[in-house]
Amino acid sequence: MYRITSQPIEVEEVTKKVIRPEAGAVVNFIGTVREFTKGKKTLSLQYEAYPEMAEKQLKKIGDEIKENWPDAVTAITHRTGKLAISDIAVVIAVSTPHRKDAYLANEYAIERIKQIVPIWKKEYWEDGEEWIGDQLEKTPYSNGEPGEVKPS
């Protein structure tokens, strides 16, 4: 249910993992590579992961979702390697009996991925390249632990 892969992600394949008779709603989040960020043109991206830990942390997110939305089932696949504009970087599928919980749980999952899953993005621009997520770009973990978010 929780995978890091260097191969292109099939949305349907991730979605199918959470479809079941008890579910009346399936929400997919598909994260794709954006061309322009604050006016700056991205040529391509590279994602690097610590795969063993990343898959454990993805499962942890699924467990947190279970605590907050006990009827939810979650599947997440994140890609690594070099990606072009509009390529799919991540797919999150959540199924629940009713739609509201699926929307909420899905958003919770992507917020947590950005906090605790050891995956790093390198941006390639026309005039250079840079790993995103260094202390210049993001708030450091000054309290010694990745932050917690509460479900809304």
């Binding site: 063993e52 994140h78 950005k114 790093w120 790993w131 997520g133 260094d134 202390q135």
Partner: protein, 76 residues
Amino acid sequence: MIHIQCFAHLREQTGQDTITLDQTSLSVAELLAELSARYAIETESLMVAINEEYAAPEDRVSEKDRVALIPPVSGG
């Protein structure tokens, strides 16, 4: 010896996938201080993972542990 995996900009900055320290046991705080002194790594924003779990500064690292440096993440 303790082997420490490096990723992303740390891998490029140190020029190594894995850093090896001669010690057999030390705390996470001591490990970061050692790496800071040796490689001029900015450790303030770094997390350390022990056996694929985030570790606290007072946690101890020994030779049989799988250790990794985790800079602020940027997946998604």
